[in-house]
C-alpha cells in the first residue's frame, strides 16, 4: 500500500485530528440535543411547559463548532437554537430542563427568561436576549478584551440568517475587522427567518459579506459536523495568530417550525420539509461512524437508552424543582438593590 492510499483510507475525523472517541462523543451530543428538543416539543404539547423554540436540524454544525474551540477558555455567545452547542460546552440536561420549566435553580436566568436564552458564567456562555443580533457586538467586545489583556481566548458568536441583516451584525463585523479581533462569527443559515425564506431576506450570499469587512468568509455544509469542525478550527487558529475574525455560514435547514407558536405549513410545504429531512446530519453522521467501523446498531441502541434515561431523570428533576419566590422578581436590578426592585 502506498502512502497516499493509506491517507485516503484514513478516516475523515482522524485526518482532522479527532480521535474515534471524540467522533463518537460528537454524535452523542448531537443525539442528546435532538432527543432533548423532541422532548421539549412533547412537553409543550402536553401543556407541561409554555414555550419551546427548536434547533432540530442544526445540531451537526453546533457540535462541530463547539469541538473546534477551546472549551476551557473561549467565550461563547450562542443564539436561541443552540442546544447542541451549549450541551457540548458543558451545560447539563438538568440545567436545560430547569430553564425549560423556568425554575429558580436555572443557571441561565433563574427562571426569568424564555428557554433557549442561554447564559452561564461558569461555562463562559454569555447571557443573551430576544432582540436578535445584539450578541454580535458583545462577542466583539470579548475579543477586544482578549486582545487588550493579551489573553489567548477567542470569542464565538452564532446567529441566524435573519440576524445577518441586522445593523448589529454589520457594525460588529466591521469593528472586529478594523481592529483584527479574535472573534468567530458563525451564521446558522437555516433558510428561514420565521416565515421569510432566504431569497426574500438576502440579496447576495451571507458568507460573501465578510469581504466587505476585510476578513475571510466561508460557506460550509452545516449538516456535516466534521466540515464545520474543520472550518471553525481554522478560524480559531487564525484568531489565535492575531489575524482577526472569520465569518462562517453554516448552511442547513430548520426542520421544525420556528417555535411552538408557529404553524409552518402556512408558508412552506411538507414536501420541502421532507426533502430536507433526507439531508439531516444526524443519521448521516451515525452512518459515517458505522462505515468507519467504530459504531454499530447495538452500541447505538445502548446510547439511545442512556440518553433517554438521562432525559427522563432531568425532566423529572426540572418538573419537581421549585419556582422562584414571587418576590424574587425584585432582585438583581442593581448590585446593591434590596427588596423593592431598583428604587
Amino acid at each position: 500500500m502506498t502512502q497516499s492510499e493509506s491517507a485516503v483510507q484514513q478516516s475523515r475525523h482522524a485526518a482532522l485530528g479527532l480521535t474515534d472517541e471524540q467522533a463518537i462523543e460528537m454524535y452523542t451530543f448531537m443525539t442528546t440535543a435532538r432527543r432533548y428538543d423532541e422532548r421539549c416539543l412533547l412537553l409543550q404539547r402536553a401543556g407541561k411547559i409554555k414555550f419551546h423554540v427548536s434547533g432540530i436540524g442544526q445540531e451537526a454544525a453546533q457540535v462541530g463548532a463547539a469541538f473546534a474551540l477551546d472549551r476551557e477558555n473561549d467565550y461563547f455567545l450562542p443564539y436561541y437554537r443552540d442546544y447542541a452547542f451549549v450541551l457540548a460546552c458543558g451545560m447539563t440536561l438538568r440545567e436545560l430542563m430547569l430553564s425549560l420549566f423556568s425554575k429558580a435553580a436555572d443557571p441561565n436566568s433563574g427562571g426569568r427568561q424564555m428557554p433557549g436564552h442561554f447564559g452561564c458564567k461558569r461555562l463562559r456562555i454569555v447571557t443573551g436576549s430576544s432582540p436578535v443580533t445584539t450578541q454580535v457586538p458583545h462577542a466583539v467586545g470579548f475579543a477586544l478584551a482578549s486582545k487588550m489583556k493579551k489573553k489567548n481566548f477567542v470569542s464565538i458568536v452564532t446567529f441566524g440568517d435573519g440576524s445577518s441583516n441586522q445593523g448589529d451584525f454589520h457594525e460588529g463585523a466591521n469593528f472586529a475587522g478594523v481592529h483584527k479581533l479574535p472573534v468567530i462569527f458563525m451564521c446558522e443559515n437555516n433558510q428561514y427567518a420565521i416565515s421569510i425564506p432566504l431569497h426574500k431576506q438576502v440579496g447576495g450570499k451571507i458568507a460573501d459579506r465578510a469581504l466587505g469587512y476585510g476578513f475571510p468568509g466561508y460557506s460550509v455544509d452545516g449538516n456535516d459536523p466534521l466540515e464545520v469542525y474543520r472550518v471553525v478550527k481554522e478560524a480559531r487558529e487564525r484568531a489565535a495568530r492575531g489575524e482577526g475574525p472569520t465569518l462562517i455560514e453554516a448552511v442547513m435547514y430548520r426542520l421544525s417550525p420556528h417555535s411552538t407558536s408557529d404553524e409552518d405549513l402556512a408558508y412552506r410545504t411538507k414536501e420541502e420539509v421532507d426533502e430536507h429531512r433526507g439531508k439531516d446530519g444526524l443519521p448521516k453522521f451515525k452512518q459515517y461512524l458505522i462505515d468507519c467501523g467504530i459504531w454499530d446498531e447495538e452500541r447505538d441502541a445502548a446510547m439511545q437508552q442512556q440518553v433517554k434515561a438521562a432525559l427522563d431523570e432531568a425532566t423529572a428533576y426540572g418538573d419537581r424543582a421549585p419556582f422562584p419566590e414571587p418576590e424574587d422578581i425584585l432582585k438583581h436590578v442593581y448590585a446593591d438593590d434590596h427588596s423593592e426592585g431598583g428604587r
Binding site: 467565550y75 436555572d106 443557571p107 441561565n108 436566568s109 433563574g110 427562571g111 426569568r112 427568561q113 436564552h117 447564559g119 452561564c120 458564567k121 454569555v126 447571557t127 436576549s129 432582540p131 445584539t134 454580535v136 457586538p137 458583545h138 462577542a139 466583539v140 467586545g141 470579548f142 475579543a143 477586544l144 478584551a145 482578549s146 486582545k147 487588550m148 489583556k149 470569542s155 445593523g167 448589529d168 457594525e171 460588529g172 466591521n174 469593528f175 478594523v178 481592529h179 432582585k331 438583581h332 436590578v333 442593581y334 448590585a335 446593591d336 426592585g341 431598583g342 428604587r343
Partner: protein, 327 residues
Amino acid sequence: MPKMDYIDAIRLAMKEEMERDDDVFVLGEDVGHKGGVFTTTKGLIGQFGEERVLDTPLSESAIVGAAIGAAMYGMKPIAEMQYSDFMFPATNQIISEAAKIRYRSNNDWTCPLVIRAPIGGGIFGGLYHSQCPESVFFGTPGLKIVAPYTAYDAKGLLKAAVRDPDPVIYFENKKCYKLVSGDVPDGDYVVPIGESNVLREGDDITVISYSLPLHFAMEAAEELEEEGISAHVLDLRTLQPLDQEGILAAARRTGKVLIIHEDNKFGGIGAEVSAIIAEEMLYELDAPIMRLCGPDVPAMPINPPGEKFFMLNKDKVKEAMKKLALY
C-alpha cells in the same frame, strides 16, 4: 484648591481612573489624536496609547455593544457618544442589553459600563446637536443616570460611574464645558451616585434642577436675594435613582417648588420629581408645583431667535421663580 473648567474636570477624572485601573479605557469616535470633537479626551492617547484610547468606526451600536462585551468580561469601558443626539442607534444596546444583563442572568453576569454623552443646546447646533434625551432612558430599571452641573461633581460623579458595578449614563452638558468652572480638589474623591446636593440655602422658594439650568437658577437667586426673595436650590446630580429624601427635604424647606430642565416638559424628569412630592407631602405645599422646561417640540432650531426661544436663560428662570414666590 485649583479652579478648573467643567470639561477639564471630566478629562481629569478619566485620566486619574485610567492611571488607577488598567482595565479602564475610553472608546468612541475621534477620541484618539483629535481628542474628541470637544477636546474632552485630549492628551489621553499620548499617555495611555491607542489601545486604551480607542478610535472606533462610526457606529454607535457597536461602540456600546463592544463596550458591553468588554464590561461583561471585566473591563471598565467608558464609551463616548459624540453627541447624545447620536446615541439613539445604540438605544437597543443600552435598554435591551446593558440595563438588563444583571437582571436577566439572575446576577450571574454584570455590565460595569459608563456611557458619556454630551447633552443640551445653546450652541447653534440645530435639531441634532442640541437635544436632551434624558427622558428616553429615564425610567429604565437597571440603568443609572447622572448629570453633573459643577466642575467638582463632573469629576467626582465620573469617577463614581467608572467604579460603579452597573451601567451608568453620564450626561455632560456641552454648554457647561467652558461656561462652568469651579474648585476641583487635587487627588481622588467620588461624588456618590444617588445623592442630590443643596447648592444654595433659602427659605421662600425651592428650585429643583440639574445640569445647565442651575447656572441660570443660581444667577437668578442672587438677584432675587436683593429683591428680598430667598431661594433654596437643589441640584439633583443623579437622575436615576432619584434622591427621594433630598427632594422631599428641599421641598419641605419652603413649601413652594419650581422644577427646571431643558429637556421638554411632557414626560420629563420634572414629572417624576413632581409626583414624588405630590405623593409624599401634598398638604405641606403652599403653592402648586411649577415646572419650567423646554417646549414640547421635537428639538431646537439653528436659527438664533428660535434657539433663544427654546433655551432657558436667567431671565426666564428668574421670572418663574418670582411668580412662584409671589403665589
